[in-house]
């Protein structure tokens, strides 16, 4: 059985470790992470956390904001740029949060608040408390808060008993097993045994923001103690700035996907009708995705030590075969146009024999043009096999090429040909000019070196 079968809602009772079967046709998540300068990269290794039956999960990337966070900070005895530390820690916090949330008392959130609206845009609410806490303590506090609230809900004795029973069962069986995606570079990828995802994903993402606030405040407190005073004054500088972008998906009772982000890392869905950007860049100016490639506008929102952080989210229903994509700007912002980003992804897919080959090829293509670190996760939803994945996108690639790419390539080829001809013409002109001069100079210089004019 493949990951896609489970994700697609078919045969969800069977549970197979996807890493046990890596034939050419098996399907898995793709993760790519590369540093432009080895050891100094400012993207966090991508996060992938999936439930045991793949019926829900989270993928995420982060990208430290280098301009704002270039000042070195010291965390846990190690020194690195604040941007690098932030990007790395952010995904660790996200992993810790969702691990705890999905294993402990997610039911409380759902019972208390009920499912959220579909197809809505939301911002996270302000934290309900602002005391400085550790990651675990903050998450615990958030959980405790929910536990307290549950006593005010109208649960019957039996419902409460069932809830506690399920919670204990989950806690007793909780396990974080490694998951092996098709990958290039580091990633944090796990299967979470015994996890349960309630319907209120939106609330979980709000609480993630709260957990990040607590953890970043605590980290910043530690940094401030060791940081020498500076005479630099600027609104730009942050100790721990990073973007964050990811997807939480679940397949029951409905196929629902929730994008969450802060900054200009992006969430996309790639369907058989093309690539769709779902996240709205938190950047200055009113640039569309094409303009933003060249404008490179300053960010207006990202995760940092200045709390409360603002994680935006968007929930969509998803009834089709889909690739969920989250990516740092190093992956998409160095392609000449958004359609060429889609073209790179699909052309790479079509030229590959299996998921790992795709990851290798795509990484090479993205790195070749990127002037930045690259991190990207592509998670297939609803596919039976790698061949199934290729089959869906073959037609789309043909359409994309015919409608958008080929005309542009024809123009580029024409321009290149004209430039070549122009260069050739210039060289010929130069040569002919020299030849003409050599012929002319014979009489022109006649009396420079000879006797008097007769």
């Amino acid at each position: 059985m493949s990951l896609a079968n489970s994700v697609g809602g078919r045969d969800t009772q069977r549970k197979v470790n996807p890493t046990s079967d890596r034939g050419n046709s098996s399907i898995s998540t793709v993760s790519i992470w590369s540093e432009k300068i080895k050891g100094k990269g400012e993207d966090g290794p991508p996060l992938i956390l999936l439930s045991e039956d793949y019926s829900f999960g989270i993928i995420a990337v982060s990208d430290g904001v280098g301009g704002a966070g270039s000042r070195p900070v010291c965390i846990d005895g190690e020194q690195a740029s604040g941007a690098r530390v932030a990007a790395m820690k952010l995904l660790e916090i996200t992993l810790a949060f969702f691990k705890k949330s999905w294993l402990q008392d997610s039911y409380n959130v759902d019972i208390m608040e009920g499912p959220g609206n579909i197809m809505d845009d939301k911002k996270t609410t302000q934290p309900r408390h602002s005391e400085k806490t550790s990651i675990d303590a903050d998450i615990h506090s958030a959980s405790h808060e929910r536990m307290s609230h549950s006593s005010f809900t109208n649960l019957s004795a039996n419902e409460e008993k069932t809830r506690l029973h399920r919670m204990r069962k989950h806690q007793s069986t909780m396990q974080l097993k490694p998951y092996l995606p098709a990958s290039v570079g580091n990633c944090s990828a796990y299967i979470l045994d015994g996890a349960v995802c309630g319907p209120n994903v939106s609330r979980h993402i709000e609480l993630l923001g709260k957990a990040i606030d607590g953890a970043f405040e605590k980290m910043n407190h530690g940094i401030a103690k060791t940081q020498s005073s500076s005479r630099l004054k600027t609104k730009i500088q942050r100790n721990l700035p990073s973007t964050l972008a990811g997807w939480v998906y679940r397949t029951t009772p409905e196929r629902e996907i929730t994008a969450f982000w802060a900054g200009d890392s992006r969430c996309y869905v790639l369907r058989n009708d093309g690539l769709h950007q779902v996240s709205q860049d938190d950047a200055k100016g009113d640039f569309d995705a094409f303009e933003a490639i060249w404008a490179d506008p300053p960010l207006t929102n990202y995760i940092s030590e200045k709390v409360p952080n603002n994680i935006k989210q968007k929930r969509l229903l998803c009834d089709y075969q889909t690739l969920l994509i989250c990516a740092s700007d190093g992956a998409f912002n160095y392609q000449p146009t958004p359609m060429e980003f889609e073209f790179v992804v699909l052309r790479s897919l079509m030229s590959s024999k299996n998921m790992q080959a795709w990851a290798d090829d795509l990484a090479e293509r993205l790195q070749a043009s990127a002037g930045d670190d690259v991190s990207i996760v592509l998670h297939p939803l609803g596919f039976d096999s790698f061949d199934d994945l290729k089959a869906l996108y073959k037609r789309r690639l043909d359409e994309l090429k015919e409608q958008f790419i080929a005309p542009l390539e024809a123009l580029k080829d024409k321009r290149a040909q004209l430039e070549k001809e122009l260069a050739s013409l210039k060289a010929e002109e130069k040569q002919k000019t020299k030849e003409a001069w050599d012929q002319y100079r014979v009489t022109y210089e006649q009396y420079l070196h000879e006797g008097n004019l007769i």
Partner: protein
Amino acid sequence: MPSKQEAAEQSMKYAVDLVFCIDKTSSMVPLIRRVKENALKFHEDLSARMEEMNKRIDELRIRVVAFGDIYADGDDWLEESDFFNLPDQIDEYKNFVTDINAKGGGDDPENGLEGLALSLQSDWTKGGDRRRHVIVVWTDTSAHKLERAIDEQPENYPKGMPKSFDELTDQWDSPEIDASARRLILFAPDEYPWSDIAAHWEEVVHFTSKGGDGLGEMDYSFIMNMLAHSI
């Protein structure tokens, strides 16, 4: 798969304009040699940092606006150049900077705001795929309020100057200034108007000192990163 040659051709080309706005009054005498040294190596350091990040500078230009005190110096209050294209005009650029002498200026303050306004009104490049429009100010003192020129405008007062600090702020935020490209570095004391600019303007870094005196490696590195990176 693109070849390395193709990839290099496809990579972003950066066009960088640097405008060095230098206080040339006599109080700068102890600092001017170092300021000029910094001005002469600034573009090399920035190019090196951008190269480290695989960002190719395709076009580099530098302009100098050396200001004094128009109310004390008369016509000698300003020396400004056009943009020098580097590396072709490196000798002309070096000669211009080397010839700046710190003199005049009377008492504090000076016409730093007019110097900044003139810098801001530069004919910024529109070339490259991405751009950096950088102004670096070196001064050791505060600046005359722009409003002073309303009451006692000297004949040689430059045309098109903002009439107030607010108007200058509006110019910084105007659509004529590329918000993605702009950066302002102040090596100036923690006084009016420099501290106000750092507190209220975006994309500004203020190193609080007299003309950058005491600038450490870490702070200089932050400034270079702020110029080289996206923000």
